[in-house]
Amino acid sequence: MQKIFDTPLYPYHRSPDQDAPASQRHPVVIIGAGPVGLAAAIDLAQQDVPVVVLDENDKVSFGSRAICFSQRTLEIVDRMGGAGPMLEKGVLWDAGRVFFGDRQIYDFNLLPDADHKHPAFINLQQYYLENYLVDRVREIEAAGKPIELRGRNKLAAIGEHDRHVRLEIDTPEGPYNLEAEWLIACDGANSPARRMLGLDFVGRVFEDNFLIADTIMEADFPTERWFWFDPPFNRGQSALLHKQPDNVWRIDFQLGWDIDRGEELKEANIRRRLHAMLGENAKFDLEWCSIYTFQCRRMAAFRQGRVLFAGDSAHQVSPFGARGANSGIQDADNLAWKLQLVLNGTAPETLMDTYSTERVYAADENIRHSTRSTDFITPKSETSRAFRDAVLDLAEHHEFARPLVNSGRLSEPSVYDGSRLNGPDCADLPASLRVGAAAMDAPVAGGWLLDRLGGGFRLLAIDQDLPTAPDFGAVEVGVVELSAVDWPEFRQRYLGAARSALYLIRPDQHVAARWLGFDANAVRAALETAMATATAQKGTT
């Protein structure tokens, strides 16, 4: 059977740019058609920003790679019109087991969160997500949106200029030049763009290797996440078993630092490990195997002149906690609306600096979480191992120790505390939705809140009468008027003890400002702050 990652999805076609007498300038060029580049492209094109995506390949990525997509990612992709197939194909799971040595120490069941449109996370191979996003690109392209995907177009050189970059692109038919007002580098952990610009990338390398085996089996394993600390089949190390669609199981074996990669990757050796884990009679096929080591690091800044870095090219984390692809999608979400406002002249170029500061802040948070998971899974000293084992031994008998067990923390969107785009907050409203937080979904009249908000700036008026058609100046603000009276989750999340409220929501659905009552001047001022057009600079971020 031909696999999805064997089929060229965006084969090379000659572009008119290659025959143009002078190099053509595009508003936005994106390098890399992975999940982050595709998400950024769709988001921009849907706002009518012309965008060209270049990829040196013409297929989706090989092997499962990212497999766990968070609620926030589903919400963002849903807004782009691409979440339907993800939810249809993805595996929903809410139960898991934790093993220590040869015994199960506890199991857990994350209660399904029925009052959000999307589940807390789904498991799905990265190649499916990429495939669905390419499908979405084709849909909006057919509907006339200015988006173009060029396969087997490889970045060869970047020339930096004040107001644009010049690109040299290699193709099967030879090189050509392109210009871009803005370049978004979504070209992965080994980012050629980052290397060509000579930008540093510092952080912590973890001295460890992991073997990933995507294993196809008709097993009676339930759809649960199983995590082993120090199992008999992988002494002194850890292991993870996680279900993906199509009866593919992701199995991760921690190998330690001092290994022979060639030996470990031999199919006979991988099969021996899997039999030790799954039993001598287990029947399985290997779909994809890889050994990886990881690093926790980020660039000093995600903007360099007219080049923006997003996803793995800008920051890398350990795989524990599903923070790689998920944070990259949030980079795209943060970037697209800002770039649209800068390109159409509504906001100053300095707005793009806040892409860097806000997402650097998020990257630091992700690196902190994933470093802590790594330190728990791989204790770095005798004492840290003693405490780790103590936590696991206690967790078998006492509920209190279970929250200390850290085999990866669920990825949640960052709250941009201290961002210079933040407007006034109101202490009488719930702290979890403070200014900087991503709007939380809730059931409301006519469906789900996040669907009602959509993209663009929104003024969410809850149990509050607004004057008809208020004018907020330079940018269009959609007014969403809702009542929380019969909607307890909505009331609890957005009002708390207050009776009414007004939220100004950014196009990426983060809260820009909030008040108890309406004042048109206050909203106008908060909008200027949120677009970095306010003349007075406040804050430090």
Binding site: T383, A386, F387, D389, A390, L394, H398, A401
Partner: protein
């Protein structure tokens, strides 16, 4: 402000101390380390208050130093 109780608070101090040592009689260093780690976690959970725990950690780290080095560091 000191939150950790630093005045004598255990009735039968010698008996408590004997029980603590008794826990480790006949144990290897590895076993004792494991018991101590579990004991710290149990007590920390019982206390619960992060400020108290942080202060106790700082006091535990500082108390091993010579007296002149810790002047002013351990409020009593």
């Amino acid at each position: 402000m000191t939150r950790v109780i630093t005045g004598a608070n255990i009735a039968g101090a010698d008996d408590f101390y004997a029980e603590l040592l008794g826990l480790h009689v006949g144990r290897s260093k590895l076993e004792s380390d494991a018991i101590n780690a579990r004991l710290i976690l149990l007590l920390a959970n019982h206390i619960g208050d992060r400020d108290v725990l942080r202060e106790a950690m700082q006091m535990a780290a500082a108390a091993g130093q010579p007296r002149n080095a810790r002047d002013g560091e351990i409020p009593d």
